[in-house]
Symmetry: C2
């Protein structure tokens, strides 16, 4: 991917040199950050509020393909997928740690590009980078991020609070990240067969961006607060709608009915899925990586949310014995199955 001429080799810098280089422009903005990078541990203070922690690891060849993933986008996404977990608790993300393992063949400029995306994401979402680890890897790029956040105890929304009759809502639209991935994979194959052919992503920006540069839905958390609506349960859509609603139902010991016709799918997602001979609904249910928020709200809150364009009501919670079902457009009832991302299964996705 990278020409090695005129590039700075990581060996010349050493680990501490690289860390200083990459962190020299960090500014800390969170009041809760007492000490950032530069000691054995960062120090935070949350003044009696609840501290939340989540972590996600991205591995080359599994979660991303450097053939079509710009490093800046990758850094941005690595932060977003972590922030998304904190927002899914209805909380405020405040700090991240980032550990990177990379081949020493990467020039400094490559790792700088990665960090550019990391810093951009931190800046856009008002999150402090407070620590991490940087090491050589034998093969492949490894990114491990841990995010911390906080919330008042009364604000936190778990997965297990859904009650019978609650409305099931999802933000944005679904299936875009997955169809974007199909497009990128296709163009990669074309390129491998004939490197002279330029990738044909014309007009497909939206779904390509959904895959390469997702945005965690902090705005939805803010919106719900503004509307004075506290969800009864919430989760982010990383593995696909089916997998996520099943998590909520299992942990809440409830069932659900989802309506296929209500599932928000962008026209470009729909069209592209069809081009690939895929069912757009299946892309939404099982594609994953959309990083939208799936949540349940009390029926009593219906008046507050009914005109909101930022999310869609797609079904309701039922008693557990009714099972978890998809009501299709042709009014058939299908039991929902988690067929989302399975990092160990060859058949998944």
């Amino acid at each position: 991917m990278f020409e090695n001429q005129d590039k700075t080799h990581l060996e010349e810098l050493g680990e501490f040199g690289l860390i200083s280089h990459l962190t020299k422009n960090i500014t800390l903005t969170q009041k809760s950050t007492v000490k950032g990078i530069g000691d054995d541990a960062a120090v935070l203070d949350h003044a009696g509020k609840k501290v939340l922690v989540s972590t996600d690891m991205l591995l080359e060849g599994i979660h991303f393909d450097l053939a079509y993933t710009p490093l800046k986008h990758l850094g941005y996404k690595a932060i977003q997928v972590n922030l998304s977990d904190i927002y899914a608790m209805n909380a405020t993300a405040t700090q991240v740690t980032v550990s990177i393992g990379m081949s020493s063949k990467f020039p400094l400029e490559a790792i700088e590009e990665l960090y550019e995306g990391i810093y951009l994401a931190c800046g856009n979402y008002n999150v402090d980078l407070i620590g991490g680890d940087t090491t050589a890897s034998k093969q492949g790029l490894v990114i491990s991020v841990t995010v911390l956040g906080y919330a008042d105890e009364s604000e936190i929304v778990y997965r297990n609070g859904a009650e019978e009759g609650d409305l099931i809502c999802v933000s944005g639209d679904l299936g875009g990240a997955y169809t974007g991935l199909q497009l990128l994979e296709r163009e990669k194959l074309v390129y491998l067969e004939n490197p002279n052919i330029q990738p044909d992503l014309e007009g497909k920006d939206y779904i390509v961006e959904r895959q390469l540069k997702p945005e965690a839905r902090k705005d939805i958390v803010d919106l719900l607060k503004d509307m004075d609506v506290k969800p009864t349960s919430m989760i982010d859509v990383s593995d696909g709608l089916a997998s996520e609603i099943l998590h909520i139902c299992k942990q809440s010991n409830k069932g659900c009915n989802l309506y296929e016709e209500k599932i928000p799918i962008d026209p470009m997602t729909y069209e592209t899925a069809r081009e690939f001979g895929l069912d757009p609904t299946v892309c939404a249910l099982s594609g994953g990586e959309d990083y939208e928020l799936l949540f349940t709200v009390k029926q009593a809150d219906y008046d507050k949310i009914k005109f909101k364009m930022d999310f869609t009501i797609i079904g309701y919670i039922t008693e557990p014995n009714a099972g978890c079902n998809l009501i299709t457009k042709s009014n058939n009832v299908h039991p929902l199955k988690a067929q989302g991302w399975n990092a160990f299964g060859a058949s998944a996705q």
Copy 2:
């Protein structure tokens, strides 16, 4: 490494099955753990105390070699190297998150062995495992751990507090982990040349264990509290004594004199270094991975610490212009250089 007969393949379980399987016996003991594994994020509460966070990543082929590293030891060590960073802040470690990337060729039994070591370390040090991520990797085992701890603001010890005249102390002994590694590397080569020859580690248990199963020095933090001694600066010895004392001097803007004859080296370390034609002092200065605590205390505290067998006074802090020096056994003055572990340099170690 593993026979695949009668083993459980990870594909059969899937990611969520694996997580449930690995976490089904977790017991949480920390009062500050409000919610552990099972939602988008763990929830902690530290009642107004400072929260500390540190993270370390271990990569196969860089930080460990599965040819001679039992997985249980590896899991144990991955936790210890992280706890060590919290103790080096004079704080209490309370929670960890663990992310694992591993080839799907590993049978379940292998990953269970790894987690056995993780749970053992958490149990021994009274730390809760509260979350993580488990994913397939294309090649090689990846372990990324984040540790959280807490302390009263007044208890925290940074690297930058050393003052002129302070005594420099180090716990335990140094260089053992590095000579242990030399031994393991030699036996690996012998084995590769002739698989019928059994490894010859007879009588070398101590240094092999220093390498494979280090113990973070929580006991030293407790001891210092019992003695009512608050170090003025502290760091853990992960990269070698020279690199660590240079960190303290640089961040405190001071110099130091270290006395070669005072550096604590176990006789087995000494002997083994000599067998390999290595200078035992160099092993202590640059070997790294000892996970001892290096700290400075006020001279006024000398009476409190002088009879303690758990650590050794090895020098004192000077004004910055005096530089950072090693006074050799033959009374020569050598400027200290960081030649510790450099994950990007081929020449280091």
